[in-house]
C-alpha cells in the first residue's frame, strides 16, 4: 500500500502512532501480512474487516500483547520498539481488548488499577512489589473512572467482576483504558455487549477522547456507529490492507464491498 501511504502524507494530520510492514503468523495461519496502519492525535481511526480479518491481532501487536514477526513502529516519527505490554503503557498506549482481559476473582477497583496499583507513601526500604497498596486511593480512582462513564447500574467498586453483567464488565474494561494516562486509546469492539444507552455513552467517550487530543482506534462491526464517530476508516481483509478512506468521502456500501471483496476495479476514492 505504498501509494496509500504517500497520499495519506499530505491529506491527513501527521501520524502520532504509525506502524509499517507488520507481519504475524500463528503456526501456519498468516494473521497479518505487510500491514501498514497509522493514527493521528485528535482523530478517530476506525478499523473494520470481516471476522478473522486480523483486526484484533493488529491491536494486540500495537499494545505489545503479542510481538510482531516483522514490521516497525514509529511514534511522532521517532522509531520505537513495542515488544511488551509495559513498553506500550510507557509510550501511552492503552487498550480495551475484545476479550476484556479482566480478572473475575478481583473486585472492580483492583481490576481498574491492575498492574499499576497506587502505593502508600513511604516504605521505601521495601522493593516496589512489596510495598503496601493504597486501597483507598485505588477506590477513589475507580469511582472517578466509573462515574465518568456513568455506569449507573454498578453498585459498588468493591463488587467482584465475576458477578457483573457482560455490559458492566465491558464498561469496566473501557474505564480502565480511558482512566489511565495515555495518548493512544485502542478500542476493540467496545460496544459489542452494550445496550443502546451505554453504546451512546461509549461513543461520547470516544468523541471526548478525540477532542482532548488522543489518537483513537475504534473497531466495530456496526457501520452506523463507525460513520458517526470515525474520521477515517481502514479496511483489512485476510490479514492485509485493502485501503483507508476518509469517512466523508465514502459510503457504508463501499466499505462493505471493500470488506467482503476487496478493492473493486476502478474504485479511486481511497486515499
Amino acid at each position: 500500500m505504498s501509494s496509500t501511504a504517500a497520499v495519506v502524507g499530505h491529506q491527513s494530520p501527521p501520524a502520532h502512532l504509525q506502524v509499517t510492514g507488520i507481519g504475524k503468523s500463528f503456526g501456519g495461519v498468516e494473521a497479518l501480512r505487510e500491514v501498514d496502519f497509522e493514527v493521528a492525535r485528535g482523530e478517530v481511526m476506525a478499523l473494520v474487516g470481516d471476522n478473522g480479518a486480523g483486526k484484533s491481532t493488529l491491536m494486540k501487536v500495537l499494545a505489545g500483547a503479542i510481538a510482531a514477526d516483522q514490521g516497525s513502529f514509529r511514534m511522532d516519527g521517532e522509531p520505537v520498539s513495542v515488544a511488551t505490554p509495559l513498553d506500550a503503557t510507557a509510550l501511552g498506549i492503552q487498550i480495551v481488548y475484545q476479550d476484556l482481559a479482566l480478572c473475575e476473582n478481583l473486585d472492580v477497583s483492583a481490576n481498574l488499577s491492575l498492574g499499576a496499583e497506587p502505593l502508600k507513601p513511604g516504605w521505601t526500604f521495601l522493593p516496589r512489589f512489596l510495598r503496601p497498596i493504597d486501597e483507598i486511593e485505588m477506590e477513589v480512582k475507580a469511582k472517578a473512572a466509573i462515574d465518568r462513564l456513568q455506569v449507573r447500574t454498578l453498585r459498588s467498586v468493591r463488587a467482584k467482576v465475576g458477578g457483573l453483567s457482560g455490559g458492566q464488565r465491558q464498561a469496566i474494561a473501557i474505564a480502565r483504558a480511558v482512566g489511565a494516562e495515555s495518548s493512544v486509546v485502542l478500542l476493540d469492539e467496545p460496544t459489542a455487549a452494550l445496550g443502546v444507552a451505554q453504546t451512546r455513552q461509549v461513543l461520547d467517550v470516544v468523541k471526548r477522547l478525540r477532542d482532548t487530543g488522543h489518537a483513537v482506534v475504534y473497531i466495530s462491526h456496526n457501520l452506523r456507529d463507525i460513520f458517526e464517530v470515525a474520521d477515517r476508516i481502514c479496511v483489512l481483509r485476510h490479514g492485509a490492507n485493502v485501503a483507508t478512506w476518509r469517512t466523508s468521502d465514502t459510503t457504508p456500501d463501499e466499505i462493505v464491498v471493500a470488506m467482503t471483496r476487496g478493492l473493486e476495479e476502478g474504485s479511486d476514492d481511497a486515499i
Binding site: 499494545a63 500483547a65 511488551t84 505490554p85 509495559l86 503503557t89 481488548y97 482481559a101 479482566l102 480478572c103 473475575e104 476473582n105 478481583l106 483492583a110 491492575l114 498492574g115 499499576a116 496499583e117 502505593l119 516496589r128 512489589f129 512489596l130 510495598r131 503496601p132 497498596i133 486501597e135 483507598i136 486511593e137 477506590e139 477513589v140 469511582k143 453498585r155 459498588s156 467498586v157 468493591r158 467482584k160 465475576g162 458477578g163
Partner: protein, 393 residues
C-alpha cells in the same frame, strides 16, 4: 444500597461471604461443630491440655498448608512440599550432627527449601511442565534425596537445644496476656484508622456492625486462646511463630502488588500478562516461598518429634493433610481464591478430627474415611456457595 429486609438466608450467607472476613465463616462453623461434637462425646477433648496438644500437632500441617496456599492461588499445586520439608529437616539434622550451631543449621535448611522450590518453579514457568508433574517428580526425588542424606538407618535424633526450644518453650502467662492485649490494640487501631481514612476520602464505609464485630471477634478469639493455653502451660512459642509467619504472608498476599499479582495470575493469567506482570517471576517466587515454608515446617517437625525420620515426612499423610487443610479452608484448587489464614483454620479442622477420633478410640480406618468425608464436604460447600455468586468455576 437497598435494604436487606427481603433477603433469603442463602442470599445473606452469600453476602456475608463477600465481606472481608466472610470467607472464614464456613471453616469457623465446621471447626465449632467438630469441637462441640467431640466435646460432648469425649469431655477430655475440651481440656486446656488437649487444646495445647491440638495446636502443637496442627502446627507442622498448618505451616505447610499456608505455603501451599500460595501456589494454589496461582492455580498450581505443590505435591512435593512435605518431601521438601523432609529434605530440609534431614539437612538440618545432619548439619547439627556435624557440629554446626542450631541457628546456622536452620538457615541452611531454609536456604535448601528455597532452592528446591525455586528449581521447581523455574521448571514450571520456563520449561512449561505442569506443576502437577514437576512436583510429583519432586515428591519422589526428594524422598530419595532425604533417604540419601539421612543415611542407612533413616532417622537422626535431634538434641540441639535451639531447635528443640522452638516447640518446647512456652511464654509465661503474664507475657501471653501482654502479647494478646498488644495485638488487640494494634488490630483495633489499624481497623479504626482505616475507617476514619475512608470517611475522609469519601469512599464506601464498612458498617459499624462489621467494624466493631471484627474487633470484638478478634479480641474474643485471642483472649479465649490465651486463657485456654495459660491454664495449661502457657502460649507456646510455636504458636506465636506460626501466627507471625501467617500474618506476614497474609499481609503480603492481600496488601502488596506481589500478592495482588498472585490473585491476578490465578484469576486470569493472560490478563495479568497483558497488564505487564511477569507471570514467570511470580510463579517462581511463589514456589520459592512454598519451599521456604516447607523448610520451616521441616524444622518445626524435627523439633517437635525430637528426631528426623523418613516416615514422619514421606509417604503422603503429611502432604495430603496440608493440601486438605488449605482446601478445607476454602482455597480454590482452580486458583485465584483463598487466604493463608483459612489454611490455619483448615489445619485446625484436620488436627481436631484426628485428635478427637484418637481420643474416642477410633481405628485408623475410621480416621481416614472420616477425613475424606470432611474434605469432600468442605469442597462441596465451597462449590455450592460459589455457584450462586459467579457463573464460572
Amino acid at each position: 444500597m437497598r435494604s436487606d429486609s427481603g433477603l433469603s438466608v442463602g442470599q445473606r450467607f452469600r453476602q456475608l461471604r463477600e465481606t472481608r472476613f466472610g470467607a472464614f465463616v464456613p471453616v469457623m462453623l465446621a471447626l465449632i461443630a467438630i469441637w462441640i461434637y467431640f466435646g460432648i462425646a469425649e469431655p477430655a477433648f475440651l481440656s486446656p491440655r488437649n487444646f495445647y496438644f491440638l495446636f502443637m500437632q496442627s502446627a507442622v500441617v498448618g505451616t505447610l498448608a499456608v505455603g501451599i496456599t500460595l501456589v494454589l492461588l496461582l492455580g498450581d499445586i505443590d505435591l512435593s512440599a512435605a518431601a521438601t520439608a523432609g529434605v530440609c529437616a534431614a539437612v538440618l539434622a545432619v548439619l547439627i550432627v556435624m557440629g554446626i550451631p542450631g541457628p546456622l543449621a536452620c538457615l541452611a535448611a531454609m536456604l535448601t527449601g528455597i532452592i528446591l522450590g525455586f528449581v521447581q518453579g523455574w521448571l514450571v514457568a520456563y520449561v512449561g511442565i505442569p506443576s502437577f508433574v514437576v512436583t510429583l517428580a519432586g515428591l519422589l526425588g526428594f524422598q530419595g534425596l532425604m533417604l540419601k542424606i539421612l543415611g542407612a538407618q533413616g532417622a537422626v535424633n535431634m538434641r540441639d537445644p535451639f531447635v528443640r526450644s522452638l516447640t518446647t518453650v512456652s511464654l509465661p502467662p503474664m507475657l501471653g496476656w501482654a502479647v494478646a492485649i498488644v495485638c488487640i490494640v494494634v488490630f483495633a487501631v489499624v481497623v479504626l484508622r482505616r475507617q476514619s481514612q475512608r470517611r475522609q476520602r469519601g469512599v464506601e464505609l464498612e458498617s459499624a456492625l462489621a467494624l466493631w464485630g471484627q474487633i470484638g471477634f478478634f479480641a474474643l478469639i485471642l483472649l479465649a486462646v490465651v486463657m485456654t493455653l495459660n491454664s495449661y502451660k502457657g502460649v507456646p512459642l510455636l504458636v506465636i511463630l506460626l501466627v507471625g509467619l501467617t500474618a506476614l504472608l497474609g499481609w503480603i498476599t492481600t496488601s502488596t502488588p506481589f500478592g495482588r499479582s498472585l490473585y491476578a495470575v490465578g484469576g486470569n493469567a493472560e490478563s495479568a500478562r497483558r497488564v505487564g506482570m511477569n507471570v514467570n517471576y511470580i510463579r517462581i517466587a511463589a514456589f520459592a516461598i512454598v519451599g521456604l515454608m516447607a523448610a520451616v515446617a521441616g524444622i518445626l517437625g524435627a523439633s517437635r518429634y525430637a528426631s528426623v525420620s523418613f516416615n514422619a515426612f514421606a509417604g503422603g499423610p503429611l502432604l495430603l493433610e496440608a493440601i486438605g487443610a488449605a482446601v478445607i479452608g476454602g482455597t480454590s484448587l482452580f486458583g485465584g481464591r483463598g487466604s493463608v489464614w483459612n489454611a490455619i483454620l483448615g489445619a485446625l479442622v484436620i488436627g481436631s478430627l484426628g485428635n478427637g477420633l484418637d481420643l474416642s478410640g477410633a481405628s485408623a480406618a475410621d480416621k481416614l474415611m472420616f477425613s475424606g468425608a470432611i474434605l469432600l464436604l468442605a469442597v462441596a460447600i465451597d462449590a455450592l456457595s460459589r455457584a450462586g455468586s459467579t457463573q464460572q468455576r
